[in-house]
């Protein structure tokens, strides 16, 4: 099985799919956190996203996927200046990854064999201009989390160790998934995710049957199934590209800005990151819908995913913060 399960063939889970599409339209929204039970298609969706994304143009062999030859870091020692089309990188950050593996470190092989001091880029370099996917993000070790926070914030990875001094761009969309029963995420890391969605397994038997049937078709009649759904994936890809172009021309009336601010105030979300993300997500959503101006309807549609993880957690509110956002939405925007 070389191809992952097609994105468009995922049954239901509309919010998760929408959130991922929004980050594909505007990478500066800052990533998606998917929390949910086991076996709800979290990993499937992320891997499907990789196949869905439009290819990017980068210098061939560049460790940080630079667009221009001038941006290729000197330590890479590249001689070629040719650019090529490559799929958007989606890099897996495994749970037990060491600091060296994430940030990059001294190349022990070169040190051993040639006695040279060379830099071996890590996962952060590989994920530049693409996606960094952390499965079971809530089980990630603290020192790796600290490291990610720093890089996600600055967009630059700085390695100062063992006599090396290297910095390279590391701008990526963080995608995390996890099961909340297994542990919580630190609020600082939560805040770095632009959007957050909660997925549950479908409770309705017909939907479940649908999921199983599609999966079965994928496994046993792969060629026909891929043919059918790859066309749909291509349609989504086109729409993402159109939306990216439309984003620049989109009008943002003051009224919508006012709505965004009022909503965040009423919810008491910490900091201004909530407002900014909500605004960006709403704009991306408007572009996706092919509308020319931002309206209250757009804000309303993306508010739960942009804000639910930014509220102060109330351990006794069993309904979850999603409900609180919806309730406040009703009150504030009517």
């Amino acid at each position: 099985m070389t191809h992952p399960f097609p994105f468009s063939a995922i049954v239901g889970q509309d919010e998760m799919k929408q959130a991922m599409i929004l980050t594909a339209i505007d990478a500066s929204i800052g990533g998606v956190l998917v929390f949910g039970d086991r076996g709800t298609g979290k990993s499937t969706a992320v891997r499907a996203l990789a196949a869905l994304l439009p290819p990017i143009k980068a210098i061939k062999g560049c460790p940080v996927n630079s667009t221009k030859a001038a941006e290729v870091p000197a330590w890479a020692g590249l001689t070629t200046k040719r650019a090529h089309q490559m799929p958007t990188p989606v890099v897996d950050l495994p749970l037990g990854a060491t600091e060296d593996r994430v940030t990059g470190a001294l190349d022990i092989e070169k040190a051993l064999t040639k006695g040279e001091k060379a830099f071996q880029p890590g996962l952060l370099a590989k994920a530049n201009r693409g996606y960094l996917y952390i499965d079971e993000v809530n089980l990630l070790e603290d020192h790796i989390v600290d490291l990610l926070l720093d890089v996600a914030q600055s967009g630059e990875n700085v390695v100062e160790r063992e006599g090396l001094s290297i910095r390279h761009p590391a701008r990526f969309v963080l995608v995390g998934s996890g099961n909340p029963e297994e542990g919580e995420l630190r609020p600082q890391l939560l805040d770095r995710f632009g959007l957050s969605v909660e997925v549950t397994s479908p409770k309705d038997v017909d939907t479940r049957v649908d999921v199983i049937k599609r999966r079965d078709a994928f496994e046993n009649d792969n060629a026909a199934f891929m043919l059918r759904w790859q066309a749909e994936d291509a349609a989504i890809r086109e729409r993402i590209l159109t939306a990216r172009k439309a984003l620049g021309k989109l009008k943002t009336p003051d009224k919508a800005l006012h709505d965004v601010a009022t909503l965040c105030l009423a919810l008491g979300s910490d900091g201004l990151r909530g407002e900014l993300t909500l605004l960006k997500a709403a704009r991306a959503y408007a572009a996706w819908r092919d509308d020319t101006a931002l309206t209250r309807a757009h804000v309303r549609a993306v508010a739960p995913m942009a804000l639910r993880h930014r509220l102060r957690r109330d351990p006794l509110d069993e309904a979850g913060s999603g409900t609180r956002v919806t309730r406040t939405l009703e009150e504030v925007l009517g």
């Binding site: 099985m1 076996g39 593996r101 051993l112 499965d135 297994e182 542990g183 397994s201 199983i212 351990p315």
Partner: protein, 540 residues
């Protein structure tokens, strides 16, 4: 029953060989002749893994011995590089990180299968849930005696590929739903297992028998509720034309109920108990305040010879020192100049770190407690403080009285300060137990984030009469307390409930149960006895 589990295990192994997409099997049994006999049926070429296996062994990396010996770069292949069966011993000891890696490997569907040998003794010692989820089968051989372990499966002719009808898929999905299995991986496994089983029998279509076997093998251990036969929806009556088609054939569709029956027969009696036990403690790190040896941070220990693995740091001075005496000999032997280091010289740094414990005393200072035992409780806390001081534990103090709880002392190690605050603790007013627990909960969460291991000790006479919102409503107060207790338990915080009332209070015993905490009724205890009991519970 016992020989049935054996048959299932043998059959599951056979199915797994037929279709690697089934992921694998988890065998729960102690090491012994029964398991050995089962393993004789397992693929002989299985790659053996152990819980402490390093990334380097799994994924491959620099072959240090060869590289150092030849002076050229030599890489070795990891165990996961070639698809095939994997055998994980002592699977219950596999860390979440290893489980996550193996889960990822299985997800990639490159043809790996995993046989996990779970030797767990206690119910909460089991294979990591996220890995167990990706294995189609789970068999428990702990009750199987060697005498029963002899069923041999008939050898089959060339296996075929079987097809399954959409109706059968619907049926499987519905049954999984009725058994309370949320994950959608389960019905996928059932379908695969049914196909594989039909294929083994040389059939080209999945029959009712295949379905029955597949459901029993893949769904029984995942069930979270025993379906009540009366609440199961009747399968919709088939439209007339379909009935006509079917009556002519011998192949009758098995009703859902019968399939469910097959699964129910395999459900353990204490299903729900086990479930709650799993829920309460699943996914918690160790962090019991015990010392952890590691190679990343903490107090340095003497360095030690070892292989370079992921995350280890080389003690360069130690390594050079170990290599120094042999330089001349090695130079003569290889004829090369320069420093010559062999793998046996490598010394690794080691560190020891301790996760500090935080004891959060939650003391009832209400009127009822003040009348009876506040002084005793204070005395007990002081004695405990002395012990905590000796162990360098952190201590926090929360008192509740009137309508609210107050954090008298944020986490500290200062004994003097704690004693002073405690002595000045006034009594009187209502018993806002819920508010007290809430304050303790907040402290526990904050402490947990800072890497401490919180334990909450609640000292009260249990007559909660003030609700969380401050209203004097006895019933609401009790409900609130229970609710917070559930939240605490879900968060996995350890707790002790000490009943300082004159008589043991049943409500408090309930609360302790909800908390999954030890309950210590102390009718007319003195401070010293109280303190001994707490120390015992803390496992000291």
């Amino acid at each position: 029953m016992a020989s049935e589990s054996w048959t299932h295990a043998a059959l599951a192994l056979r199915l797994l060989a037929q279709d690697p997409g089934l992921g694998g099997i988890c065998v729960r049994a102690r090491s012994g002749p029964v398991r050995d006999r089962l393993m004789a049926l397992a693929p002989a070429q299985a790659v053996r893994l152990h819980p402490a296996i390093t990334d380097e062994a799994l994924y491959g990396g620099l072959d240090l011995s060869a590289t150092l010996a030849t002076g050229l770069l030599v890489r070795d292949k990891g165990l996961l590089a070639t698809p095939g069966p994997l055998l994980l011993h002592m699977a219950e000891r596999a860390a979440p990180t290893l489980a996550a890696r193996l889960a990822l490997t299985l997800d990639q569907a490159r043809g790996h299968t995993l046989i996990a040998l779970d030797e767990g003794a206690a119910p909460d010692e089991a294979l990591e849930a996220k890995l167990a989820e990706r294995l189609a089968f789970h068999v428990d051989l702990s009750d199987c005696s060697l005498r029963d372990a002899h069923v041999r499966l008939p050898q089959h002719a060339q296996p075929t590929t079987a097809s399954i009808t959409p109706d059968q898929i619907t049926q499987i999905t519905r049954i999984a739903h009725d058994l309370g299995i949320d994950s959608l991986r389960a019905p996928q496994f059932t379908i695969r297992a049914a196909r594989a089983h039909a294929g083994l029998q040389g059939r080209t279509e999945v029959t009712a028998e295949d379905l029955e076997v597949a459901c029993a093998l893949t769904l029984a251990h995942r069930a979270t509720r025993v379906p009540d036969p009366e609440t199961i929806e009747e399968p919709p009556a088939p439209p007339p034309d379909q009935t006509n088609q079917n009556t002519g054939e011998d192949r009758l569709d098995l009703p859902d109920e019968l399939l469910l029956e097959a699964v129910r027969a395999l459900l353990p009696d204490n299903l729900l108990d086990r479930l709650t036990a799993q829920k309460a403690r699943s996914g918690r790190g160790s962090g019991t305040g015990a010392a952890r040896k590691g190679n990343r941070r903490g107090r340095p220990l003497p360095s030690r010879a070892g292989r370079i693995s992921d995350g280890a740091r080389i003690d360069i001075i130690g390594t050079l020192r170990a290599a120094a005496p042999w330089q001349t000999i090695r130079r003569q032997a290889t004829g090369r100049e320069g420093l010559q280091i062999r793998p046996s010289d490598i010394r690794l740094k080691r560190f020891e770190e301790k996760s500090d414990r935080l004891l959060i005393f939650t003391v009832d200072a209400s009127g009822s407690a003040a009348l009876t035992r506040l002084a005793e409780a204070k005395g007990a806390v002081e004695l405990l403080l002395a012990q905590a001081y000796a162990r360098r534990d952190h201590v926090a103090l929360v008192a509740f009285r009137g309508t609210e709880a107050e954090l008298l002392l944020p986490p500290t190690r200062s004994l003097v300060q704690t004693k002073r605050r405690l002595a000045g603790l006034p009594g009187g007013g209502g018993t806002p137990l819920a508010a007290g627990m809430m304050a303790a909960f907040e402290q526990a969460q904050q402490a947990g984030r800072r890497g401490l291991t919180p334990t909450i000790a609640i000292l009260t006479d249990g007559r909660a009469n003030i609700a969380l919102d401050g209203s004097a409503d006895r019933k609401q107060a009790a409900t609130d307390a229970q609710q917070i207790a559930r939240a605490l338990r879900a968060a996995g915080t350890d707790a002790i409930v000490i009943d300082t009332g004159n008589r043991p209070e049943p409500a408090l015993r309930n609360l302790a149960q909800t908390l999954d905490a030890a309950y210590l009724p102390l009718p007319r205890a003195d401070a010293a006895r109280l303190s001994t009991s707490v120390a015992t519970v803390l496992g000291d």
